[in-house]
C-alpha cells in the first residue's frame, strides 16, 4: 500500500496469510467522510463476498454517520512497498529541498510570490 502509515490494520498483513481454510476472506475498508474528500482507509473486516463486505463495513465503520461512500478491497489484492528497504526506496527526495517553495528565499518581501 502506498500509505501504510494510515492503516489501522490488516492491509499490512497482506501476504502474511493466516492460513485458516474456514475463515472468510479479509477486506480492507475505505470510507469517504463527505463530498469533496478522498476515501480514507479505516480498517478491515472479514466477509464472504464483496456485497456483504460493503454491508458489514457500513455496520462496523459508519454507525455514527462517519461516511457517505465505502470502498472494500480484498486484502490480498494490496501490494505494499518493502518496509526493510524504506531507506533506499524513499531516498530520492533526500537532499532535494529545491523541490520546496521555502528553498527560494531571495523573493522574500515581494508580494504574491
Amino acid at each position: 500500500m502506498s500509505t501504510p502509515g494510515a492503516s489501522t490494520g490488516a492491509a499490512d498483513q497482506a501476504g502474511a496469510s493466516t492460513g485458516a481454510a474456514d475463515q472468510w476472506p479479509l477486506w480492507e475498508v475505505f470510507v469517504r467522510a463527505g463530498r469533496g474528500l478522498s476515501h480514507v482507509h479505516v480498517g478491515s473486516l472479514h466477509a464472504p463476498d464483496a456485497e456483504l463486505a460493503v454491508r458489514n463495513a457500513r455496520d462496523l465503520y459508519t454507525r455514527r454517520g462517519e461516511g457517505v461512500s465505502i470502498w472494500v478491497v480484498p486484502a490480498d489484492a494490496v501490494t505494499t512497498s518493502d518496509p526493510d528497504a524504506k531507506g533506499a526506496f524513499f531516498e530520492s527526495p533526500a537532499g532535494k529541498n529545491y523541490r520546496h517553495a521555502v528553498y527560494y528565499t531571495k523573493s522574500e518581501g515581494v508580494k504574491h510570490l
Binding site: Q13, T18, A20, Q23, D59
Partner: protein, 335 residues
C-alpha cells in the same frame, strides 16, 4: 574458549543474526523516539507475544462484555432505553472486531483467537463474570465499568504498536457515550422513588470494588508492567490509573447522591489524592481462576452462539462461492 560451531549443542540459543541485530537496533530507536511500530517492522518475539495476548484478551472482553447487558435489552424500562442499550451492545461487538483486526496484523488468525476463547484457553476481563440482576446494574456498568475502561484505554491510544493505538482511538470516541448513558440511568433512579434509590445504591455497592480491580493487581505484584511500560505499550501503572479513577468518581458520586462503599475513602491533603481501603484481591484471583459468579455461564453462552451461528457463516460462504461460479460461467459464455 569457544567451541567449534559444529560441536555446539542444539539446546544452546543461536547467536542473533545480523538481520536480527539490525532489526533490534531499529526497533529500539523507534521506541526511544516514542514513535510507532507498524505491522511489517521487525519486532522482538516477546513484544509480538505480549501484544497478541493483550489485544486478543481485550477483544474477548468486548465480545463477552455484550452478555451482561444483552440480558436487559428485552426488559429495558422504555423503548428509548432499549434502543440505547442495543446501540451500546452493537458498539461492543464493533470494538471486538476492531481489536481482532489489530491482533491479526501480528500474525494470528481470528478463527484461532475465537477458538481460544470458546475452548476456555484465553482470558477476558474478569468484570464480565458478575451477574446483572437489576436495571440499575445497566447504570452502574456504564458509569463504573465503562468509566474504568476509558481510564485504562485513553493512554492506550498512544500505545507503541500502531494498529492497537488506532483501534483504541475509535473505541475511546464511542466509549464516552457508554459512560454517560450509565450515569444518566443512575441519576434518574436516584431522583425516583425510595425503592429506585435503594436499587441504584445497591448496584453501586456491588460494582464499585470489581471496577477498581479492573486496573489489575497492585504495582508490586504486576510483574509484566515494567516491560510493557519500557515498550511504551502501557503509559501509567495500575495503581496510578486506579488512583486517578477514584479521584474522578468522588465528585461524580456527589452529583448522583450515591455513597461509594469504602468507609476509609478520604482526601489526603499531603498526597493530594484519595486514601482508600485495601482491595480484597482473593476475590479477584478467584474470579480470574474461573470461579466467579458467572464464568461458566458466559463461556457456555459464547460457545452456543458460535455453534448456533455456524450455518449462517457456511450459507454465506456457499452463496458467495455460487455467485462467483455463476459470474465465471457468464464471462465464459460471453467470451
Amino acid at each position: 574458549m569457544t567451541a567449534p560451531a559444529e560441536l555446539r549443542r542444539a539446546s544452546e540459543p543461536a547467536e542473533p543474526t545480523a538481520d536480527e541485530l539490525a532489526g533490534q537496533a531499529a526497533f529500539d530507536e523507534l521506541i526511544a523516539a516514542d514513535s510507532r511500530i507498524e505491522p511489517r517492522d521487525w519486532m522482538p518475539e516477546a513484544y509480538r507475544k505480549t501484544l497478541i495476548r493483550q489485544i486478543s484478551q481485550h477483544a474477548h472482553s468486548e465480545i463477552i462484555g455484550m452478555q451482561p447487558e444483552s440480558n436487559w435489552i428485552s426488559r429495558a424500562p422504555s423503548l428509548k432505553r432499549k434502543a440505547i442499550l442495543m446501540a451500546k451492545v452493537q458498539d461492543e461487538a464493533g470494538h471486538g472486531l476492531y481489536l481482532y483486526s489489530a491482533a491479526q496484523t501480528l500474525g494470528i488468525g481470528r478463527e484461532e483467537m475465537m477458538r481460544q476463547l470458546i475452548e476456555g484457553r484465553a482470558r477476558y476481563s474478569s468484570i464480565f463474570n458478575y451477574p446483572t440482576p437489576t436495571w440499575a446494574d445497566m447504570g452502574a456498568i456504564g458509569w463504573l465499568v465503562d468509566g474504568a475502561a476509558i481510564c485504562n484505554q485513553v493512554p492506550l491510544c498512544r500505545a507503541s504498536y500502531g494498529p492497537y493505538g488506532r483501534a483504541m482511538v475509535r473505541i475511546c470516541k464511542e466509549e464516552s457515550f457508554h459512560q454517560r448513558q450509565g450515569f444518566e440511568i443512575l441519576l434518574e433512579l436516584m431522583q425516583g422513588t425510595e425503592a429506585q434509590r435503594r436499587m441504584a445504591q445497591d448496584a453501586v455497592n456491588r460494582w464499585y470494588w470489581p471496577s477498581l480491580m479492573m486496573f489489575g493487581p497492585p504495582d508490586d505484584e504486576s510483574p509484566n508492567s515494567a516491560q510493557s511500560m519500557a515498550w511504551n505499550i502501557k503509559r501509567f501503572s495500575n495503581d496510578e490509573l486506579r488512583q486517578r479513577f477514584v479521584g474522578m468518581l468522588v465528585p461524580q458520586a456527589e452529583v448522583l447522591g450515591v455513597t461509594l462503599p469504602d468507609p476509609e475513602l478520604a482526601w489526603n491533603e499531603e498526597r493530594q489524592a484519595y486514601d482508600m481501603s485495601e482491595i480484597d484481591w482473593t476475590e479477584f484471583h478467584e474470579v480470574l481462576a474461573g470461579r466467579g459468579p458467572a464464568n461458566a455461564e458466559r463461556l457456555r453462552r459464547r460457545r452456543e452462539a458460535h455453534e448456533a451461528g455456524a450455518w449462517v457463516r457456511e450459507a454465506a460462504a456457499e452463496y458467495a462461492r455460487k455467485q462467483a461460479d455463476r459470474a465465471a460461467e457468464l464471462a465464459g459464455a460471453v467470451a
